[in-house]
Amino acid sequence: MENIVYLDNAATTPVNKEVFEAMKPYFSEIYGNASSIYKFAGKATNAVDEARRKVADFLGAEPAEVYFTGGGSESDNWALKGTAYALKDKGKHIITSKIEHHAILHTCEFLEKQGFEVTYADVDENGVVKLDELEKAIRDDTILISVMYANNEIGTIQPVKEIGEIAHRHGVLFHTDAVQAYGHLPINVNEQNIDMLSASGHKFGGPKGIGILYVRKGINITPLIHGGAQERNKRAGTHNTPGIVGFAAATTIADNEMEYRIEYETGLRDYLIDRVLEEIPYTRLNGHRTDRLANNVNFSFRFIEGESLLIMLDRSGICGSSGSACTSGSLDPSHVLLAIGLPHEIAHGSLRLTLSHENTKDEIDYTIEEIKKTVERLRSMSPLYEDFLKNR
């Protein structure tokens, strides 16, 4: 494999080798349909049951509250549409935030076309949802609050427990998109007042194409996928046994190593942040300085554009991502960066690097040097920088 420095772990992660080993038998050996009656399929059924127990343990939930899905986007769609359909006679108002993933925002836009009303709560300059505004937005017909656990672009961690408290005080359900947090931060659905939670396997060393939706006992949401009795009649489709086993194995490993990973990644993250802010002028860190995911770094470099920066870094073997318009195929830069108050031109110059416990300090040193060179080079080509220097 070519030599790369992979710093896009919020996009996806490699499947952990132990996880892969755990999954292997379920492709060609224990291939039975987990819903079949005969003994041969029983091993697959047991594997799915065991996996559900492991996931429930991690969440502080009961196995019957965990539903396997096709991934984070499906879980988000299901939580929102399923709640909307089930409670439409109670109310048609949903509250979410301006910095959600598109799996939430686009689903909300879809529901608005179906006659639901959605309030998009503001965030502060660090990307933290404003709790007083959130509470004020609650109406008699509000049926659901959905706020992400941690943001995928700027890493800011939300006060999930407090949001859940507010929701429950008003008799409103609380869903959290925990796709970036699951496997990276401790979660306890009861202590944190969470009614529904989405997670995705490939964000923490598990495989792609598998996710979960936690749904608190007693909450009855309408199914999204029809066609079979799987997942207690709530989510049709033959169980993805290898995926389910992989999701659970990755959960257990992430749980066991969590303390170490958080400490290690935080150390690398802070080293990267401190050096870049120190050594590259006209640079800002986006997101909360401390209440952020241990692996997330998001900078804006003034006077340059993010896609150029990404391509140059790619040529140096560094994989990152950007909130620039050019990488999203639209004219607008990231909705998250605009929501925290960045002007368009500064939002265009953003760079997100998301680390893992497998990154080394050498890799980070190399990355810092390459960023410095590239930013300097692109600034020397930038008419904005030229004007800035002349007008200084």
């Binding site: 896609e307 150029s308 999203s328 195929g329 830069p333 030229e386």
Partner: protein, 143 residues
């Protein structure tokens, strides 16, 4: 989030090794187009003597395609008469780069507009009329 690597080899070459980056002091004509809000600004400097473009330089804030089209546009314009320079279209820039992804075509329009803006500046400074040249649109991205 990424769709950046559908660029031709020529685009990548002109992005990684852009020709004619820089400024020309006391340039005969300077044109700046685009806006930072939409993520692209191009500035082209022209040195013109005896109705011929002697030299061209650029500075660009923008994506890989914006840099590559600026680089190619300055290459194409050098040595051309003012009339020939006016005839350099976005299509010619794109073809010279072996094409651009559809979402990046606006970058080549920006390059054409930057040339026009620089020629306009030249015509204004020298009180001459260039047949077929219209005043530049200040902000083509609002189209």
């Amino acid at each position: 989030m990424s769709q950046v690597l559908e660029y031709s080899e020529k685009v990548m070459d002109h992005f990684a090794n852009p020709r004619n980056v820089g400024e020309i002091e006391d340039a005969a004509g300077v044109g700046t187009v685009g806006n930072a809000k939409c993520g692209d600004i191009m500035r082209i400097y022209l040195d013109i003597k005896d109705n011929v473009v002697q030299d061209a330089k650029f500075k660009t804030f923008g994506c890989g395609a914006a840099v590559a089209t600026s680089s190619m546009a300055t290459e194409l314009i050098k040595g051309k008469t003012v009339e020939e320079a006016l005839g350099i279209t976005n299509k010619a820039v794109m073809e010279a780069l072996d094409g651009l992804p559809p979402v990046k075509v606006h970058c080549s329009l920006l390059a054409e507009e930057a040339i026009h803006a620089a020629l306009w500046d030249y015509s204004q400074k020298n009180g001459i009329t260039i047949e077929g040249l219209k005043p530049p649109v200040a902000d083509i991205s609002e189209e």
